[in-house]
Symmetry: C2
Subunit: 477 residues, 2 copies
């Protein structure tokens, strides 16, 4: 007898054949119907047991989360709800699960409770669906770039450079924390540390990815990045995965084209490959939001929101134009925004971004040409001397999902900018070298992967879309 | 006029059409022939310029590593060595490269010199080939698992658990290193640290991956892992990427099948998709080894070595059997081994592993059922009480490339083992929970990705197969 996954049985199983399946009991009702799941799909296979002829010791152990093996015949199901089911001949208990002790009861638990049981929450419908979608999205990312001629680059996680200034960093050290070696001046002597210098966890692979783009042409990173910021919000993690493509000879317009194509490709992949999980997650969100007041609910059901991205052209709007729109908008005039937009140069908040996307343009929006003062040192200065070739992509519900830029490729301009902004030139000599030896226009963007998973799954807390979230005061497991 | 990559022009370019291409000059000879490369392929496109009608200022700037744009007509090449070339009409210098200053001269540099210029070495043939192969291998890994029904899991990089004991760890902290808060007893008060406890960089995602396998069924990790070991060898990195599949309901035999299928799949992918790069790397290795004495050269050319893996069944041999073979082998009897094999229980060295693969069996070898004493706590104890269901896969040239095991799924046996080996049960309560609630046979393995890249590229120093290597006293860039 051949062993099948639940997914195989449900999608391509031939009836009247004998099959073996192994999985975990989700529910057991009427001493007769086992809903069995093995993680391969959101759907369970119903196993119908012959109550009279099953050992009582076995029956007692068919409890939620018990691991069992079922041998039987796949047949067309009599009941509604499933096309096929298994008429079980033999049930073997592989691993029991004491229902008095098992933390996850067959009832609705709060997401917060499940977070504290992150090692078991993947056994629930919600988290297994989220994590399958996450996995599919990951693959869609690689597939898109590889088929488009990009090369994957693993930029370093431990970095000796803290010059980028994108955020607070975690220090990495192998020194004795209590009695570290000191220099004559009484400072920590990092020359004695493992790497011979002070090292941190990376906040971005962009600068290193640029060095590779200037050799391989089109590259992308997809790896963990870190922020030691004490942000206890539903949108921030201390450890998260980032995707950063970087392309030589590409300007900002090309960058916008690439980002739009990329996002549509990966969401299209998930729509095609995770239909059952998305349907489940959509219903979950609808149920969750029933208890919320109308104005706090999502503007659209999950799959409609994904189609909203797939079916619309991303509207490209300059920052200057956006400021005009916002300044003249009703919520600004009526002081409904928390932050009132008064002058050009203001940094946009999530409320402004969402207004542009959800109310004004009613489509995804790419803002570009931001004030130089509110953007990073490496972004290319426009001829006006006050804006840079930066872009942000804004999505409904979450605001900014992508941040990117054409990079400053002119050596002198970059050095000037670094001086002004207090960035150490010596430390970044290698970044400057790219502008000395065969420089060229180049661009790229960054996308926080968990933001994308949030969007695609309809989950609302970023802690629920990564297996083991790291946040302030939390590094369990 | 449309812009093409060099790869597109060489593989599918139609002659007699006008084209634009951008890239970096590799060589410029006879004031007439530019070899242009854009990283898309190991091959250059030859651009033939009309010397008489090209501005002298432009000519002067056509130097190694200058970024240029060439407009011209794609024609069948007159010369040997390439099928097509570009008759250039216009050359535009995008970014000059002063040949007096550019560190990488058009001559052979030592790999060590190039390592110090890791931001530029990807512009050489060798490193661009290695990094393209690395990228293709990465994708092959994802493709294999995704098509086989596995889900990708991102296990945590920062971990509060140091229980696995797989090696020395790096500490991650946001405390003031010089004046850390102390407890009343005078120890570092990690309760004040970012995560509220002492945290380290992960040495393996296996234990966390197991929690996911026990929910999703088949999972794999592919992420960075770390060792703070002062190993200054050609085979060790402080930061490296690891692949760790983990499968519920799979025993050690299934694990061997999976590992063999996996390795053949990814090497087959590279053979198919990186033919030009592999041909180049094979020749590079032959050239390098010309200066070495015969007995230090590779047993086979690069592509033959890859075929050796693809074409052979992996021979499965118990540890006990291997010890017998080694004990009776010529090099053991003649004391040619550095470590003479005397008794059952001895740990195998690379010399023994290579003897088994290269001399005795002449095929890849999977050793299994190792002595419990030399293996990790989580490996499943056999009924003999002294061996565990561990396996190592041995390759020619490099020895061990995969280490895996069936995991101990029995709660009591695991607890006993942890007690004996001094592993903290409380800290790993979540790992023990897997054995309490629906436990099942499960197995997995780990493969250091850079070892695989070494094997596939024929490079001999692990620092040369990762973009920015981290090793003792080195965390540049």
């Amino acid at each position: 007898m051949k062993t099948y996954s639940v997914k195989e049985l449900l999608s391509e199983g031939k009836t009247q054949q004998d099959v073996v399946v192994k999985g975990w009991v989700r529910t057991f009702r009427s001493n007769r119907f086992i809903a069995l799941n093995d993680g391969s799909t959101i759907n369970n296979i119903q196993c119908v047991i012959d109550f009279e002829n099953t050992d009582e010791e076995v029956l007692k152990k068919i409890t939620t989360s018990a691991a069992i093996e079922v041998k039987g015949t796949l047949v067309a199901s009599q009941g509604s709800g499933q096309a096929v089911e298994i008429q079980a001949q033999t049930i073997t208990i592989l691993g029991a699960s004491n229902p008095e002790e098992y933390p996850i009861q067959p009832k609705k638990h709060s997401l917060e409770f499940l977070r504290a049981n992150a090692h078991l929450r993947v056994r629930t419908n919600t988290f297994s669906a989220v994590m399958r979608v996450r996995s599919a999205l990951s693959f869609a990312v690689h597939k898109f770039f590889q088929e488009d001629g990009f090369y994957y680059v693993n930029t370093p996680i431990i970095t000796g450079s803290d010059a980028e200034g994108a955020g607070e960093m975690f220090r990495v050290s192998a020194l004795d924390a209590k009695n570290p070696p000191l220099t004559e001046e009484g400072n920590i002597d990092y020359a004695e540390d493992f790497f011979g210098k002070e090292t941190n966890l990376t906040v971005s692979g962009q600068l290193e990815a640029e060095t590779y783009a200037m050799g391989l042409g089109k590259v992308y990173t997809f790896g963990p990045t870190f922020r030691a910021e004490n942000s206890n919000t539903t949108r921030h993690l201390a450890e998260f995965w980032m995707i950063e493509p970087e392309v030589a000879f590409m300007d900002l317009d090309g960058n916008m084209d690439l980002a739009e194509r990329f996002i549509k490709s990966v969401l299209g992949y998930v729509k095609e490959h995770c239909a059952d999980d998305l349907a489940f997650l959509e219903q979950r969100l609808l149920n969750e939001e029933k208890t919320k007041p109308q104005n706090e609910r999502s503007p659209m059901p999950l799959r409609e929101k994904i189609d909203f991205i797939l079916d619309n052209n991303f509207k490209r709007v300059s920052y200057t134009e956006a400021i005009e729109i916002l300044r003249n908008s009703k919520p600004n005039k009526k002081k409904k925004f928390d932050y009132i937009i008064e002058d050009w140069g203001a940094d946009l908040q999530s409320e402004h971004e969402r207004y542009l996307v959800e109310k004004h343009f009613e489509c995804p929006v790419i803002l570009f040409d931001y004030p130089a003062k509110i953007k990073a040192f490496y972004m290319r200065l426009n001829d006006d001397g006050k804006t840079v070739r930066a872009m942000d992509i804004l999505f409904p519900g979450i605001g900014e999902i992508v941040g990117g830029a054409q990079r400053e490729e002119r050596y002198e301009v970059l050095v000037d900018k670094m001086k002004t902004m207090g960035i150490d030139e010596e430390e970044l000599y290698w970044y400057l070298d790219l502008r000395k030896f065969g420089t060229a226009v180049h661009s790229g963007f960054g996308l926080g992967f968990e933001r994308l998973v949030l969007f695609a799954t309809g989950m609302t807390n970023i802690r629920d879309v990564i297996p083991f979230p790291r946040t302030p005061k939390n590094a369990e497991f």
